[in-house]
Structures are given as structure tokens and as C-alpha cells.
Symmetry: C2
Subunit: 387 residues, 2 copies
Amino acid sequence: MRKAAIVAAGQSAFGEFPKKSIKELFVEAYRDMLGAADVPLDPRRVQAAYVGSLGVGGFQLGQIAPLLTTYIGLGPIPVARVENACASGGFALYQAVLAVASGACDVALAAGVEKMRDLSSSKTRYWLGVSGDTEYERLAGLTFAGIYALMASRYMHEHRVGKKYLSMVAVKNHENGARNPKAHLRRKIALEEAMKAPDVAHPLNLYDCSPTSDGAAVAIVAAAELAREFTAKPVEIAGFGAGSDHLAIHDRETITSLRASVEAAKKAYEMAGISPADVQVAEVHDCFTIAEILAYEDLGFCPAGGAPRLLDEGATTLQGRLPVNPSGGLKSKGHPLGATGVAQAVEIFRQLRGEAKERQVKDAEIGLSHNVGGSGGSAVVFVYRAM
Amino acid sequence: MRKAAIVAAGQSAFGEFPKKSIKELFVEAYRDMLGAADVPLDPRRVQAAYVGSLGVGGFQLGQIAPLLTTYIGLGPIPVARVENACASGGFALYQAVLAVASGACDVALAAGVEKMRDLSSSKTRYWLGVSGDTEYERLAGLTFAGIYALMASRYMHEHRVGKKYLSMVAVKNHENGARNPKAHLRRKIALEEAMKAPDVAHPLNLYDCSPTSDGAAVAIVAAAELAREFTAKPVEIAGFGAGSDHLAIHDRETITSLRASVEAAKKAYEMAGISPADVQVAEVHDCFTIAEILAYEDLGFCPAGGAPRLLDEGATTLQGRLPVNPSGGLKSKGHPLGATGVAQAVEIFRQLRGEAKERQVKDAEIGLSHNVGGSGGSAVVFVYRAM
């Protein structure tokens, strides 16, 4: 298969932007990418585009891909929206990589965008609910916080660990996000503060939940052999994989591991020819703190039940042996659904190029990103290598 | 690029099915495919799946792909929804072809599904409207029938032709659809009846508009070199192409030609190494009768302004030299948005295998399908060849 590389990437600020439209958020991300490029990008080289978005609120639901790509002046190229709920951005990147790998094009744009803050919180719950199993979960009243709360309860029971470990994830990610100028919640929090926040869905409290955010992110994927025409420091997509699972958690064999993540990671490692121990920096899907804990185990960073020990050791902090979510993760950077998967790639791109400034992971050459749809109905993993 | 072929295909009945859920429609299409297969399909061979759907009504908007694929027992494979409004199905097929072409998998499922009849007609207008340019068209009150009415008026003015030619498209497609047991509107209509129907958006009347339908369609795409393991009569995807354009028609240079269709067709012909004159049967996007007229010209079946002559000659009837929409097209077969692009492939697959029964086009070996998003914001074209 023809190898692909990311040659440029950027994102808008994540947060609450009542005066910015979807188009403006997209342009902000595109301009951030152009501004950070070491070689000026000729938009005419972009031959295809994929936009990840759930379309929260439905303001512009259909054909958002041509709406956005024509708005920035891209030509009459093949474009499409790709959707897998919270993994929409990761799957948009996946399709861009396949388009380049197939030879159908040499250069593709992957983007993600979501505008979530225009809605009331009950409307937002509805829109998030449309990504669960409607018949068995949404109509029965189960929210996404509720689903992840069930996972957290079961995990704490199976491995006999306390709420503290959930809060440690929040503290770590806020610590990192405070160093990220694009982050939505840019402040450090103390462990005690995190543990005592009001409950959302027990045992998950306010600080266990990622915020609902507005934002956009973009990346240019090029055939690896052409990558140096675009930048002196391309980042190879060394491996990629995706998986899926039943939406309704009652249909799964376990709720303390996401099968979709396990499958995605297995394929990505195999293609990249690496093992989990080779990963030096990772952006994982921490929509709720328990999700990051499950990710450690599903991605093979530790055995099942080993996540609390990783946290006790500080292994996944910015100074640890495997920094996870240096961007602040979904928890602190924010989680504009469709944008998230692409923004993870933006962060790893900058980390592997040594451009992450205050949150730079030292000497990282191999990175990973992990994006989950809803409560694990889908997942996609990329392994990146500095070229 | 590695060649791909369709090795199995099927569809549900199209129509109004208040008692069938999205899952049931999907299963109906899948079973239709299994029942028509000459070699039993082992579902474990399916390594990826793409589902086209706009998600009209929003009942199950997020992650419909894993919801449906796990429901029929497919494994933890990469799946995603692909959306480009009315071209969602065509772009799902496009991604399945790219997945196989890239070597990421050998066998992929392409599917499309839509359930539109649960909504009132005002709600349906809203959901269709979310595929136009919301800021400049939907919020100003322009409907899709209204947009195509503008195109029709301009076409009739530029080429000095009357309403009769619009109605001739409707008459032809109803004639064909009456022979299709899966069609939504399965009855012949007379020219006078078609011309005198009540206006929807002048000059388009009721018989110029495709119905809103429930339905699903599926196809299996395999690497061409493996195709004969699945069937004795595979149909090669000889060429494919896609294009895009501004959503808002005021941003376009012309409204009597869809640039996205022209771009898509150009690429598909080039890849297949054929000219429009080589096409022996075509399924084109006739969401409104004017759309089929523009398609004749955009696909190169005749020069600009030449469509009325093609209709006068009867060239595109089932007995003509280039039968168009033998299935009945969107106009008579029905138009469940996400399903349409895949259902077009199902029809061409059956035509090139000689399995179209009462509506069989004689000795066709090269076919084409053409699927348009909304009012032309996106389009995708496939050229098929009997293997």
C-alpha cells in the first residue's frame, strides 16, 4: 500500500464562540494550518477532501463538505462528510489516507468541525443521544454520561479501585491543557477539587466529563514520496486501523474494554511494525475520565487492570515515560465532536516536529492517536512516525 | 490502482413502510442480495463497510453504520457513514471502492438507507433543506423543488423548449418503473396527465418530482482478481469519478449544467477508457425531471441543448439506443436519499448480468450510474463493465 504522510495541520481555538459560524471556525483552522506551514501551500494541489462532523443541531447537516471546501476556494474535487459520532474526525482522516493510499489522489484534506454551544444542554443531550442505540438506550433515557458511568462503576468493582483514579486523569489533562493556547478549559485543577465536584452520573462528576465545545481542525495528507514538497518535516502515517462494535452496551461481552479500540490498535501496530511499548506520545479519547483509563488498557500501554498503577507512577504525565494527552485531551482542550479526531492528529504532528512549545514531549519520534465513536460503536487508531 | 468489482447486490422494496424500521429495511436489502447470489456469501469475508444516509428525521443519526452492520452479524470491522445528501449512497460506494483499491481490504460492503415517510411533508422539507446552503437558501425559504424549478425555467428559456420535455421524462420513467417490482410508484402515466398535474414549484408539477420514499440497498465490492470466488458474473467498476460545487446556486457560473456532474463524468470516462457513446445503459439522478435532462448533457450523451432531441427520438427509452433509468429512476422507483446511489448500482449490476427481467436492456455490457447531492453540491459517476 502506498504510504501517506501529514504535511500540514492546524486547528481553531476550541471553546464557546457564539459569534463564529461553522464556516468561520473552519476558516480559522485552515488559516492556522497555512500560517504554521514552512512551505506555502498551493490549494490547487488538494485533490479530495473529507469532513468529519455529526452536525450537532442540524443547522447545516447535508453536504457540509462541499459547503466548506468551496468556501475556502477549493476546486470541484471529490468531497464527502464522514460520520461516526465523536470519531467522525478520525474517520475523515482515515478516508483521506485511503484516498491517497489507493492512488486515486496524491493530496487530500482531512477536516473536522462541530458547533455545539448554540444549543441548550437538553438539546445537546438529544443530539449526543442520536449516536447511541436509539431503540434500546436513548429512548430509555440513558445518556452518554450514564453509559460511561456504568463502565466506570464496573471497572471500579472489577479492579477494586476508588474514584481517585478517575480524578487523577482529569488533573493530569487540565495540567496539560493549561499550557495549550487553543484549549477550551485552560486551567489547572487540584485532585481534591476534582474529586468533590457535583455528580453528573455517579461515579462521574463534572470534572470527569469533557466539555461541549465549538471548534474545527484540518490536516493535509500527501503521498509520502511527495511529502517533502510540502514541508521539511513531514510526519508519516506509519499505521492505521479501525474497528466497530454493537452500539448498545448490553450487547457487548464486556463493558470494561472497548472491542472497537482493541481491533483498531491491533491493526495499526501491525501495519506500523511496532509494539505499544514503542509509542512515545499519545492522544487518546478521554470524553470521560474512565475512557482514558480504558484506553491505556485497550491500546496495550498496560495490562487489564493496570491503568491505576500507570497513574500512580505518573507514567502518562508530560514528564512521564509515555505522555498521554499533552494537548489537554478532550477533557481540557475540549471536544467539538467532528473536530476531535483531526485535532488529535494536529497535536501529534506538532509534537513529532518539536513545535508543541510549553507542552513539548522530549525527543518523541513515534506517536499515536485514538478516537472513539460514542460509547465505543467505532474507533480508529493512527501510528505516526517523524520522517 | 487495484481494480474493484461488484460481486453481489440487492435492495429492499422502495415505498412507504410505516411498520418497517431502518434496521428492517437494511436487512430486507441484505437478504435480497443474499437470495440473488449465485455463490453463498460468507459474511466473514466482509472487511469494511460504508453506509450512505442523510439520517432524515434524526431518529438514528450518529453511528448508523455500526448499528446496522453489527445487526446483521458483521464483525468488528472498520465502518463509517458517508454523507453527501442525496448522493450519500453513491459516495458510500465510492469509499468502498477506494478501500479495496488501496489494498486496505479485499472485500467491502457499500450500503444506503433512508426512512423518510415517518415525517410530515413540512418536516421532510426541513430535512431536505439542511442539504442546501442554509444561510442563503434554506433560511430564505428556497426548497429543493424551488431550486430545480429555477434550473428548469432557465433551461426552457435558453433552449426555447416547452414543458412537454419535462413531462416526457416522467412518462418514460413511469413506463419503466411499472416493470420494476421494487418501485415505489409502479404505474404508467400518460403525457397529458403528466403535463396537467398540479404545480409544486412552477414549472415543476407533481409528476416532475420524485417521491419521498423509505428504502435500502446494498452491494459487495471485491478486488477484481478475487471476484470470481463470489460469483460467475462479476461486474467491474471500470471507472469512477466525483466532483463538487458551491451549494448555493447564486455562486455558480451556470444553472443549466451541474459542474460536479461534469467533473465526475470526465474522470470516470477517462479511467474506464471509454467515451459517452460507449455507454449502453445508464441510471441517472432524476430527482426532478429537469435533472435527467441536465444529466444527458452533463454526462455527454448529447451536446448542451440536445436533450429534447434525444427525448423526441426516444433514444433513452427501454427500446432506444441508450436506455436511461430502466429501473424507473428516482421518479418512479423512488428516492430514499441515502439508498439511491447504491440502488443505481444494483440496477446496473442486474442489467449487465442479464437479470433485469421485464425491463432488461438487450446485450448491455457497459453501464453507468450518476448520483447527485442536493442541487449539485456533489456528484459521483461510475462506469461498469461486465467481466
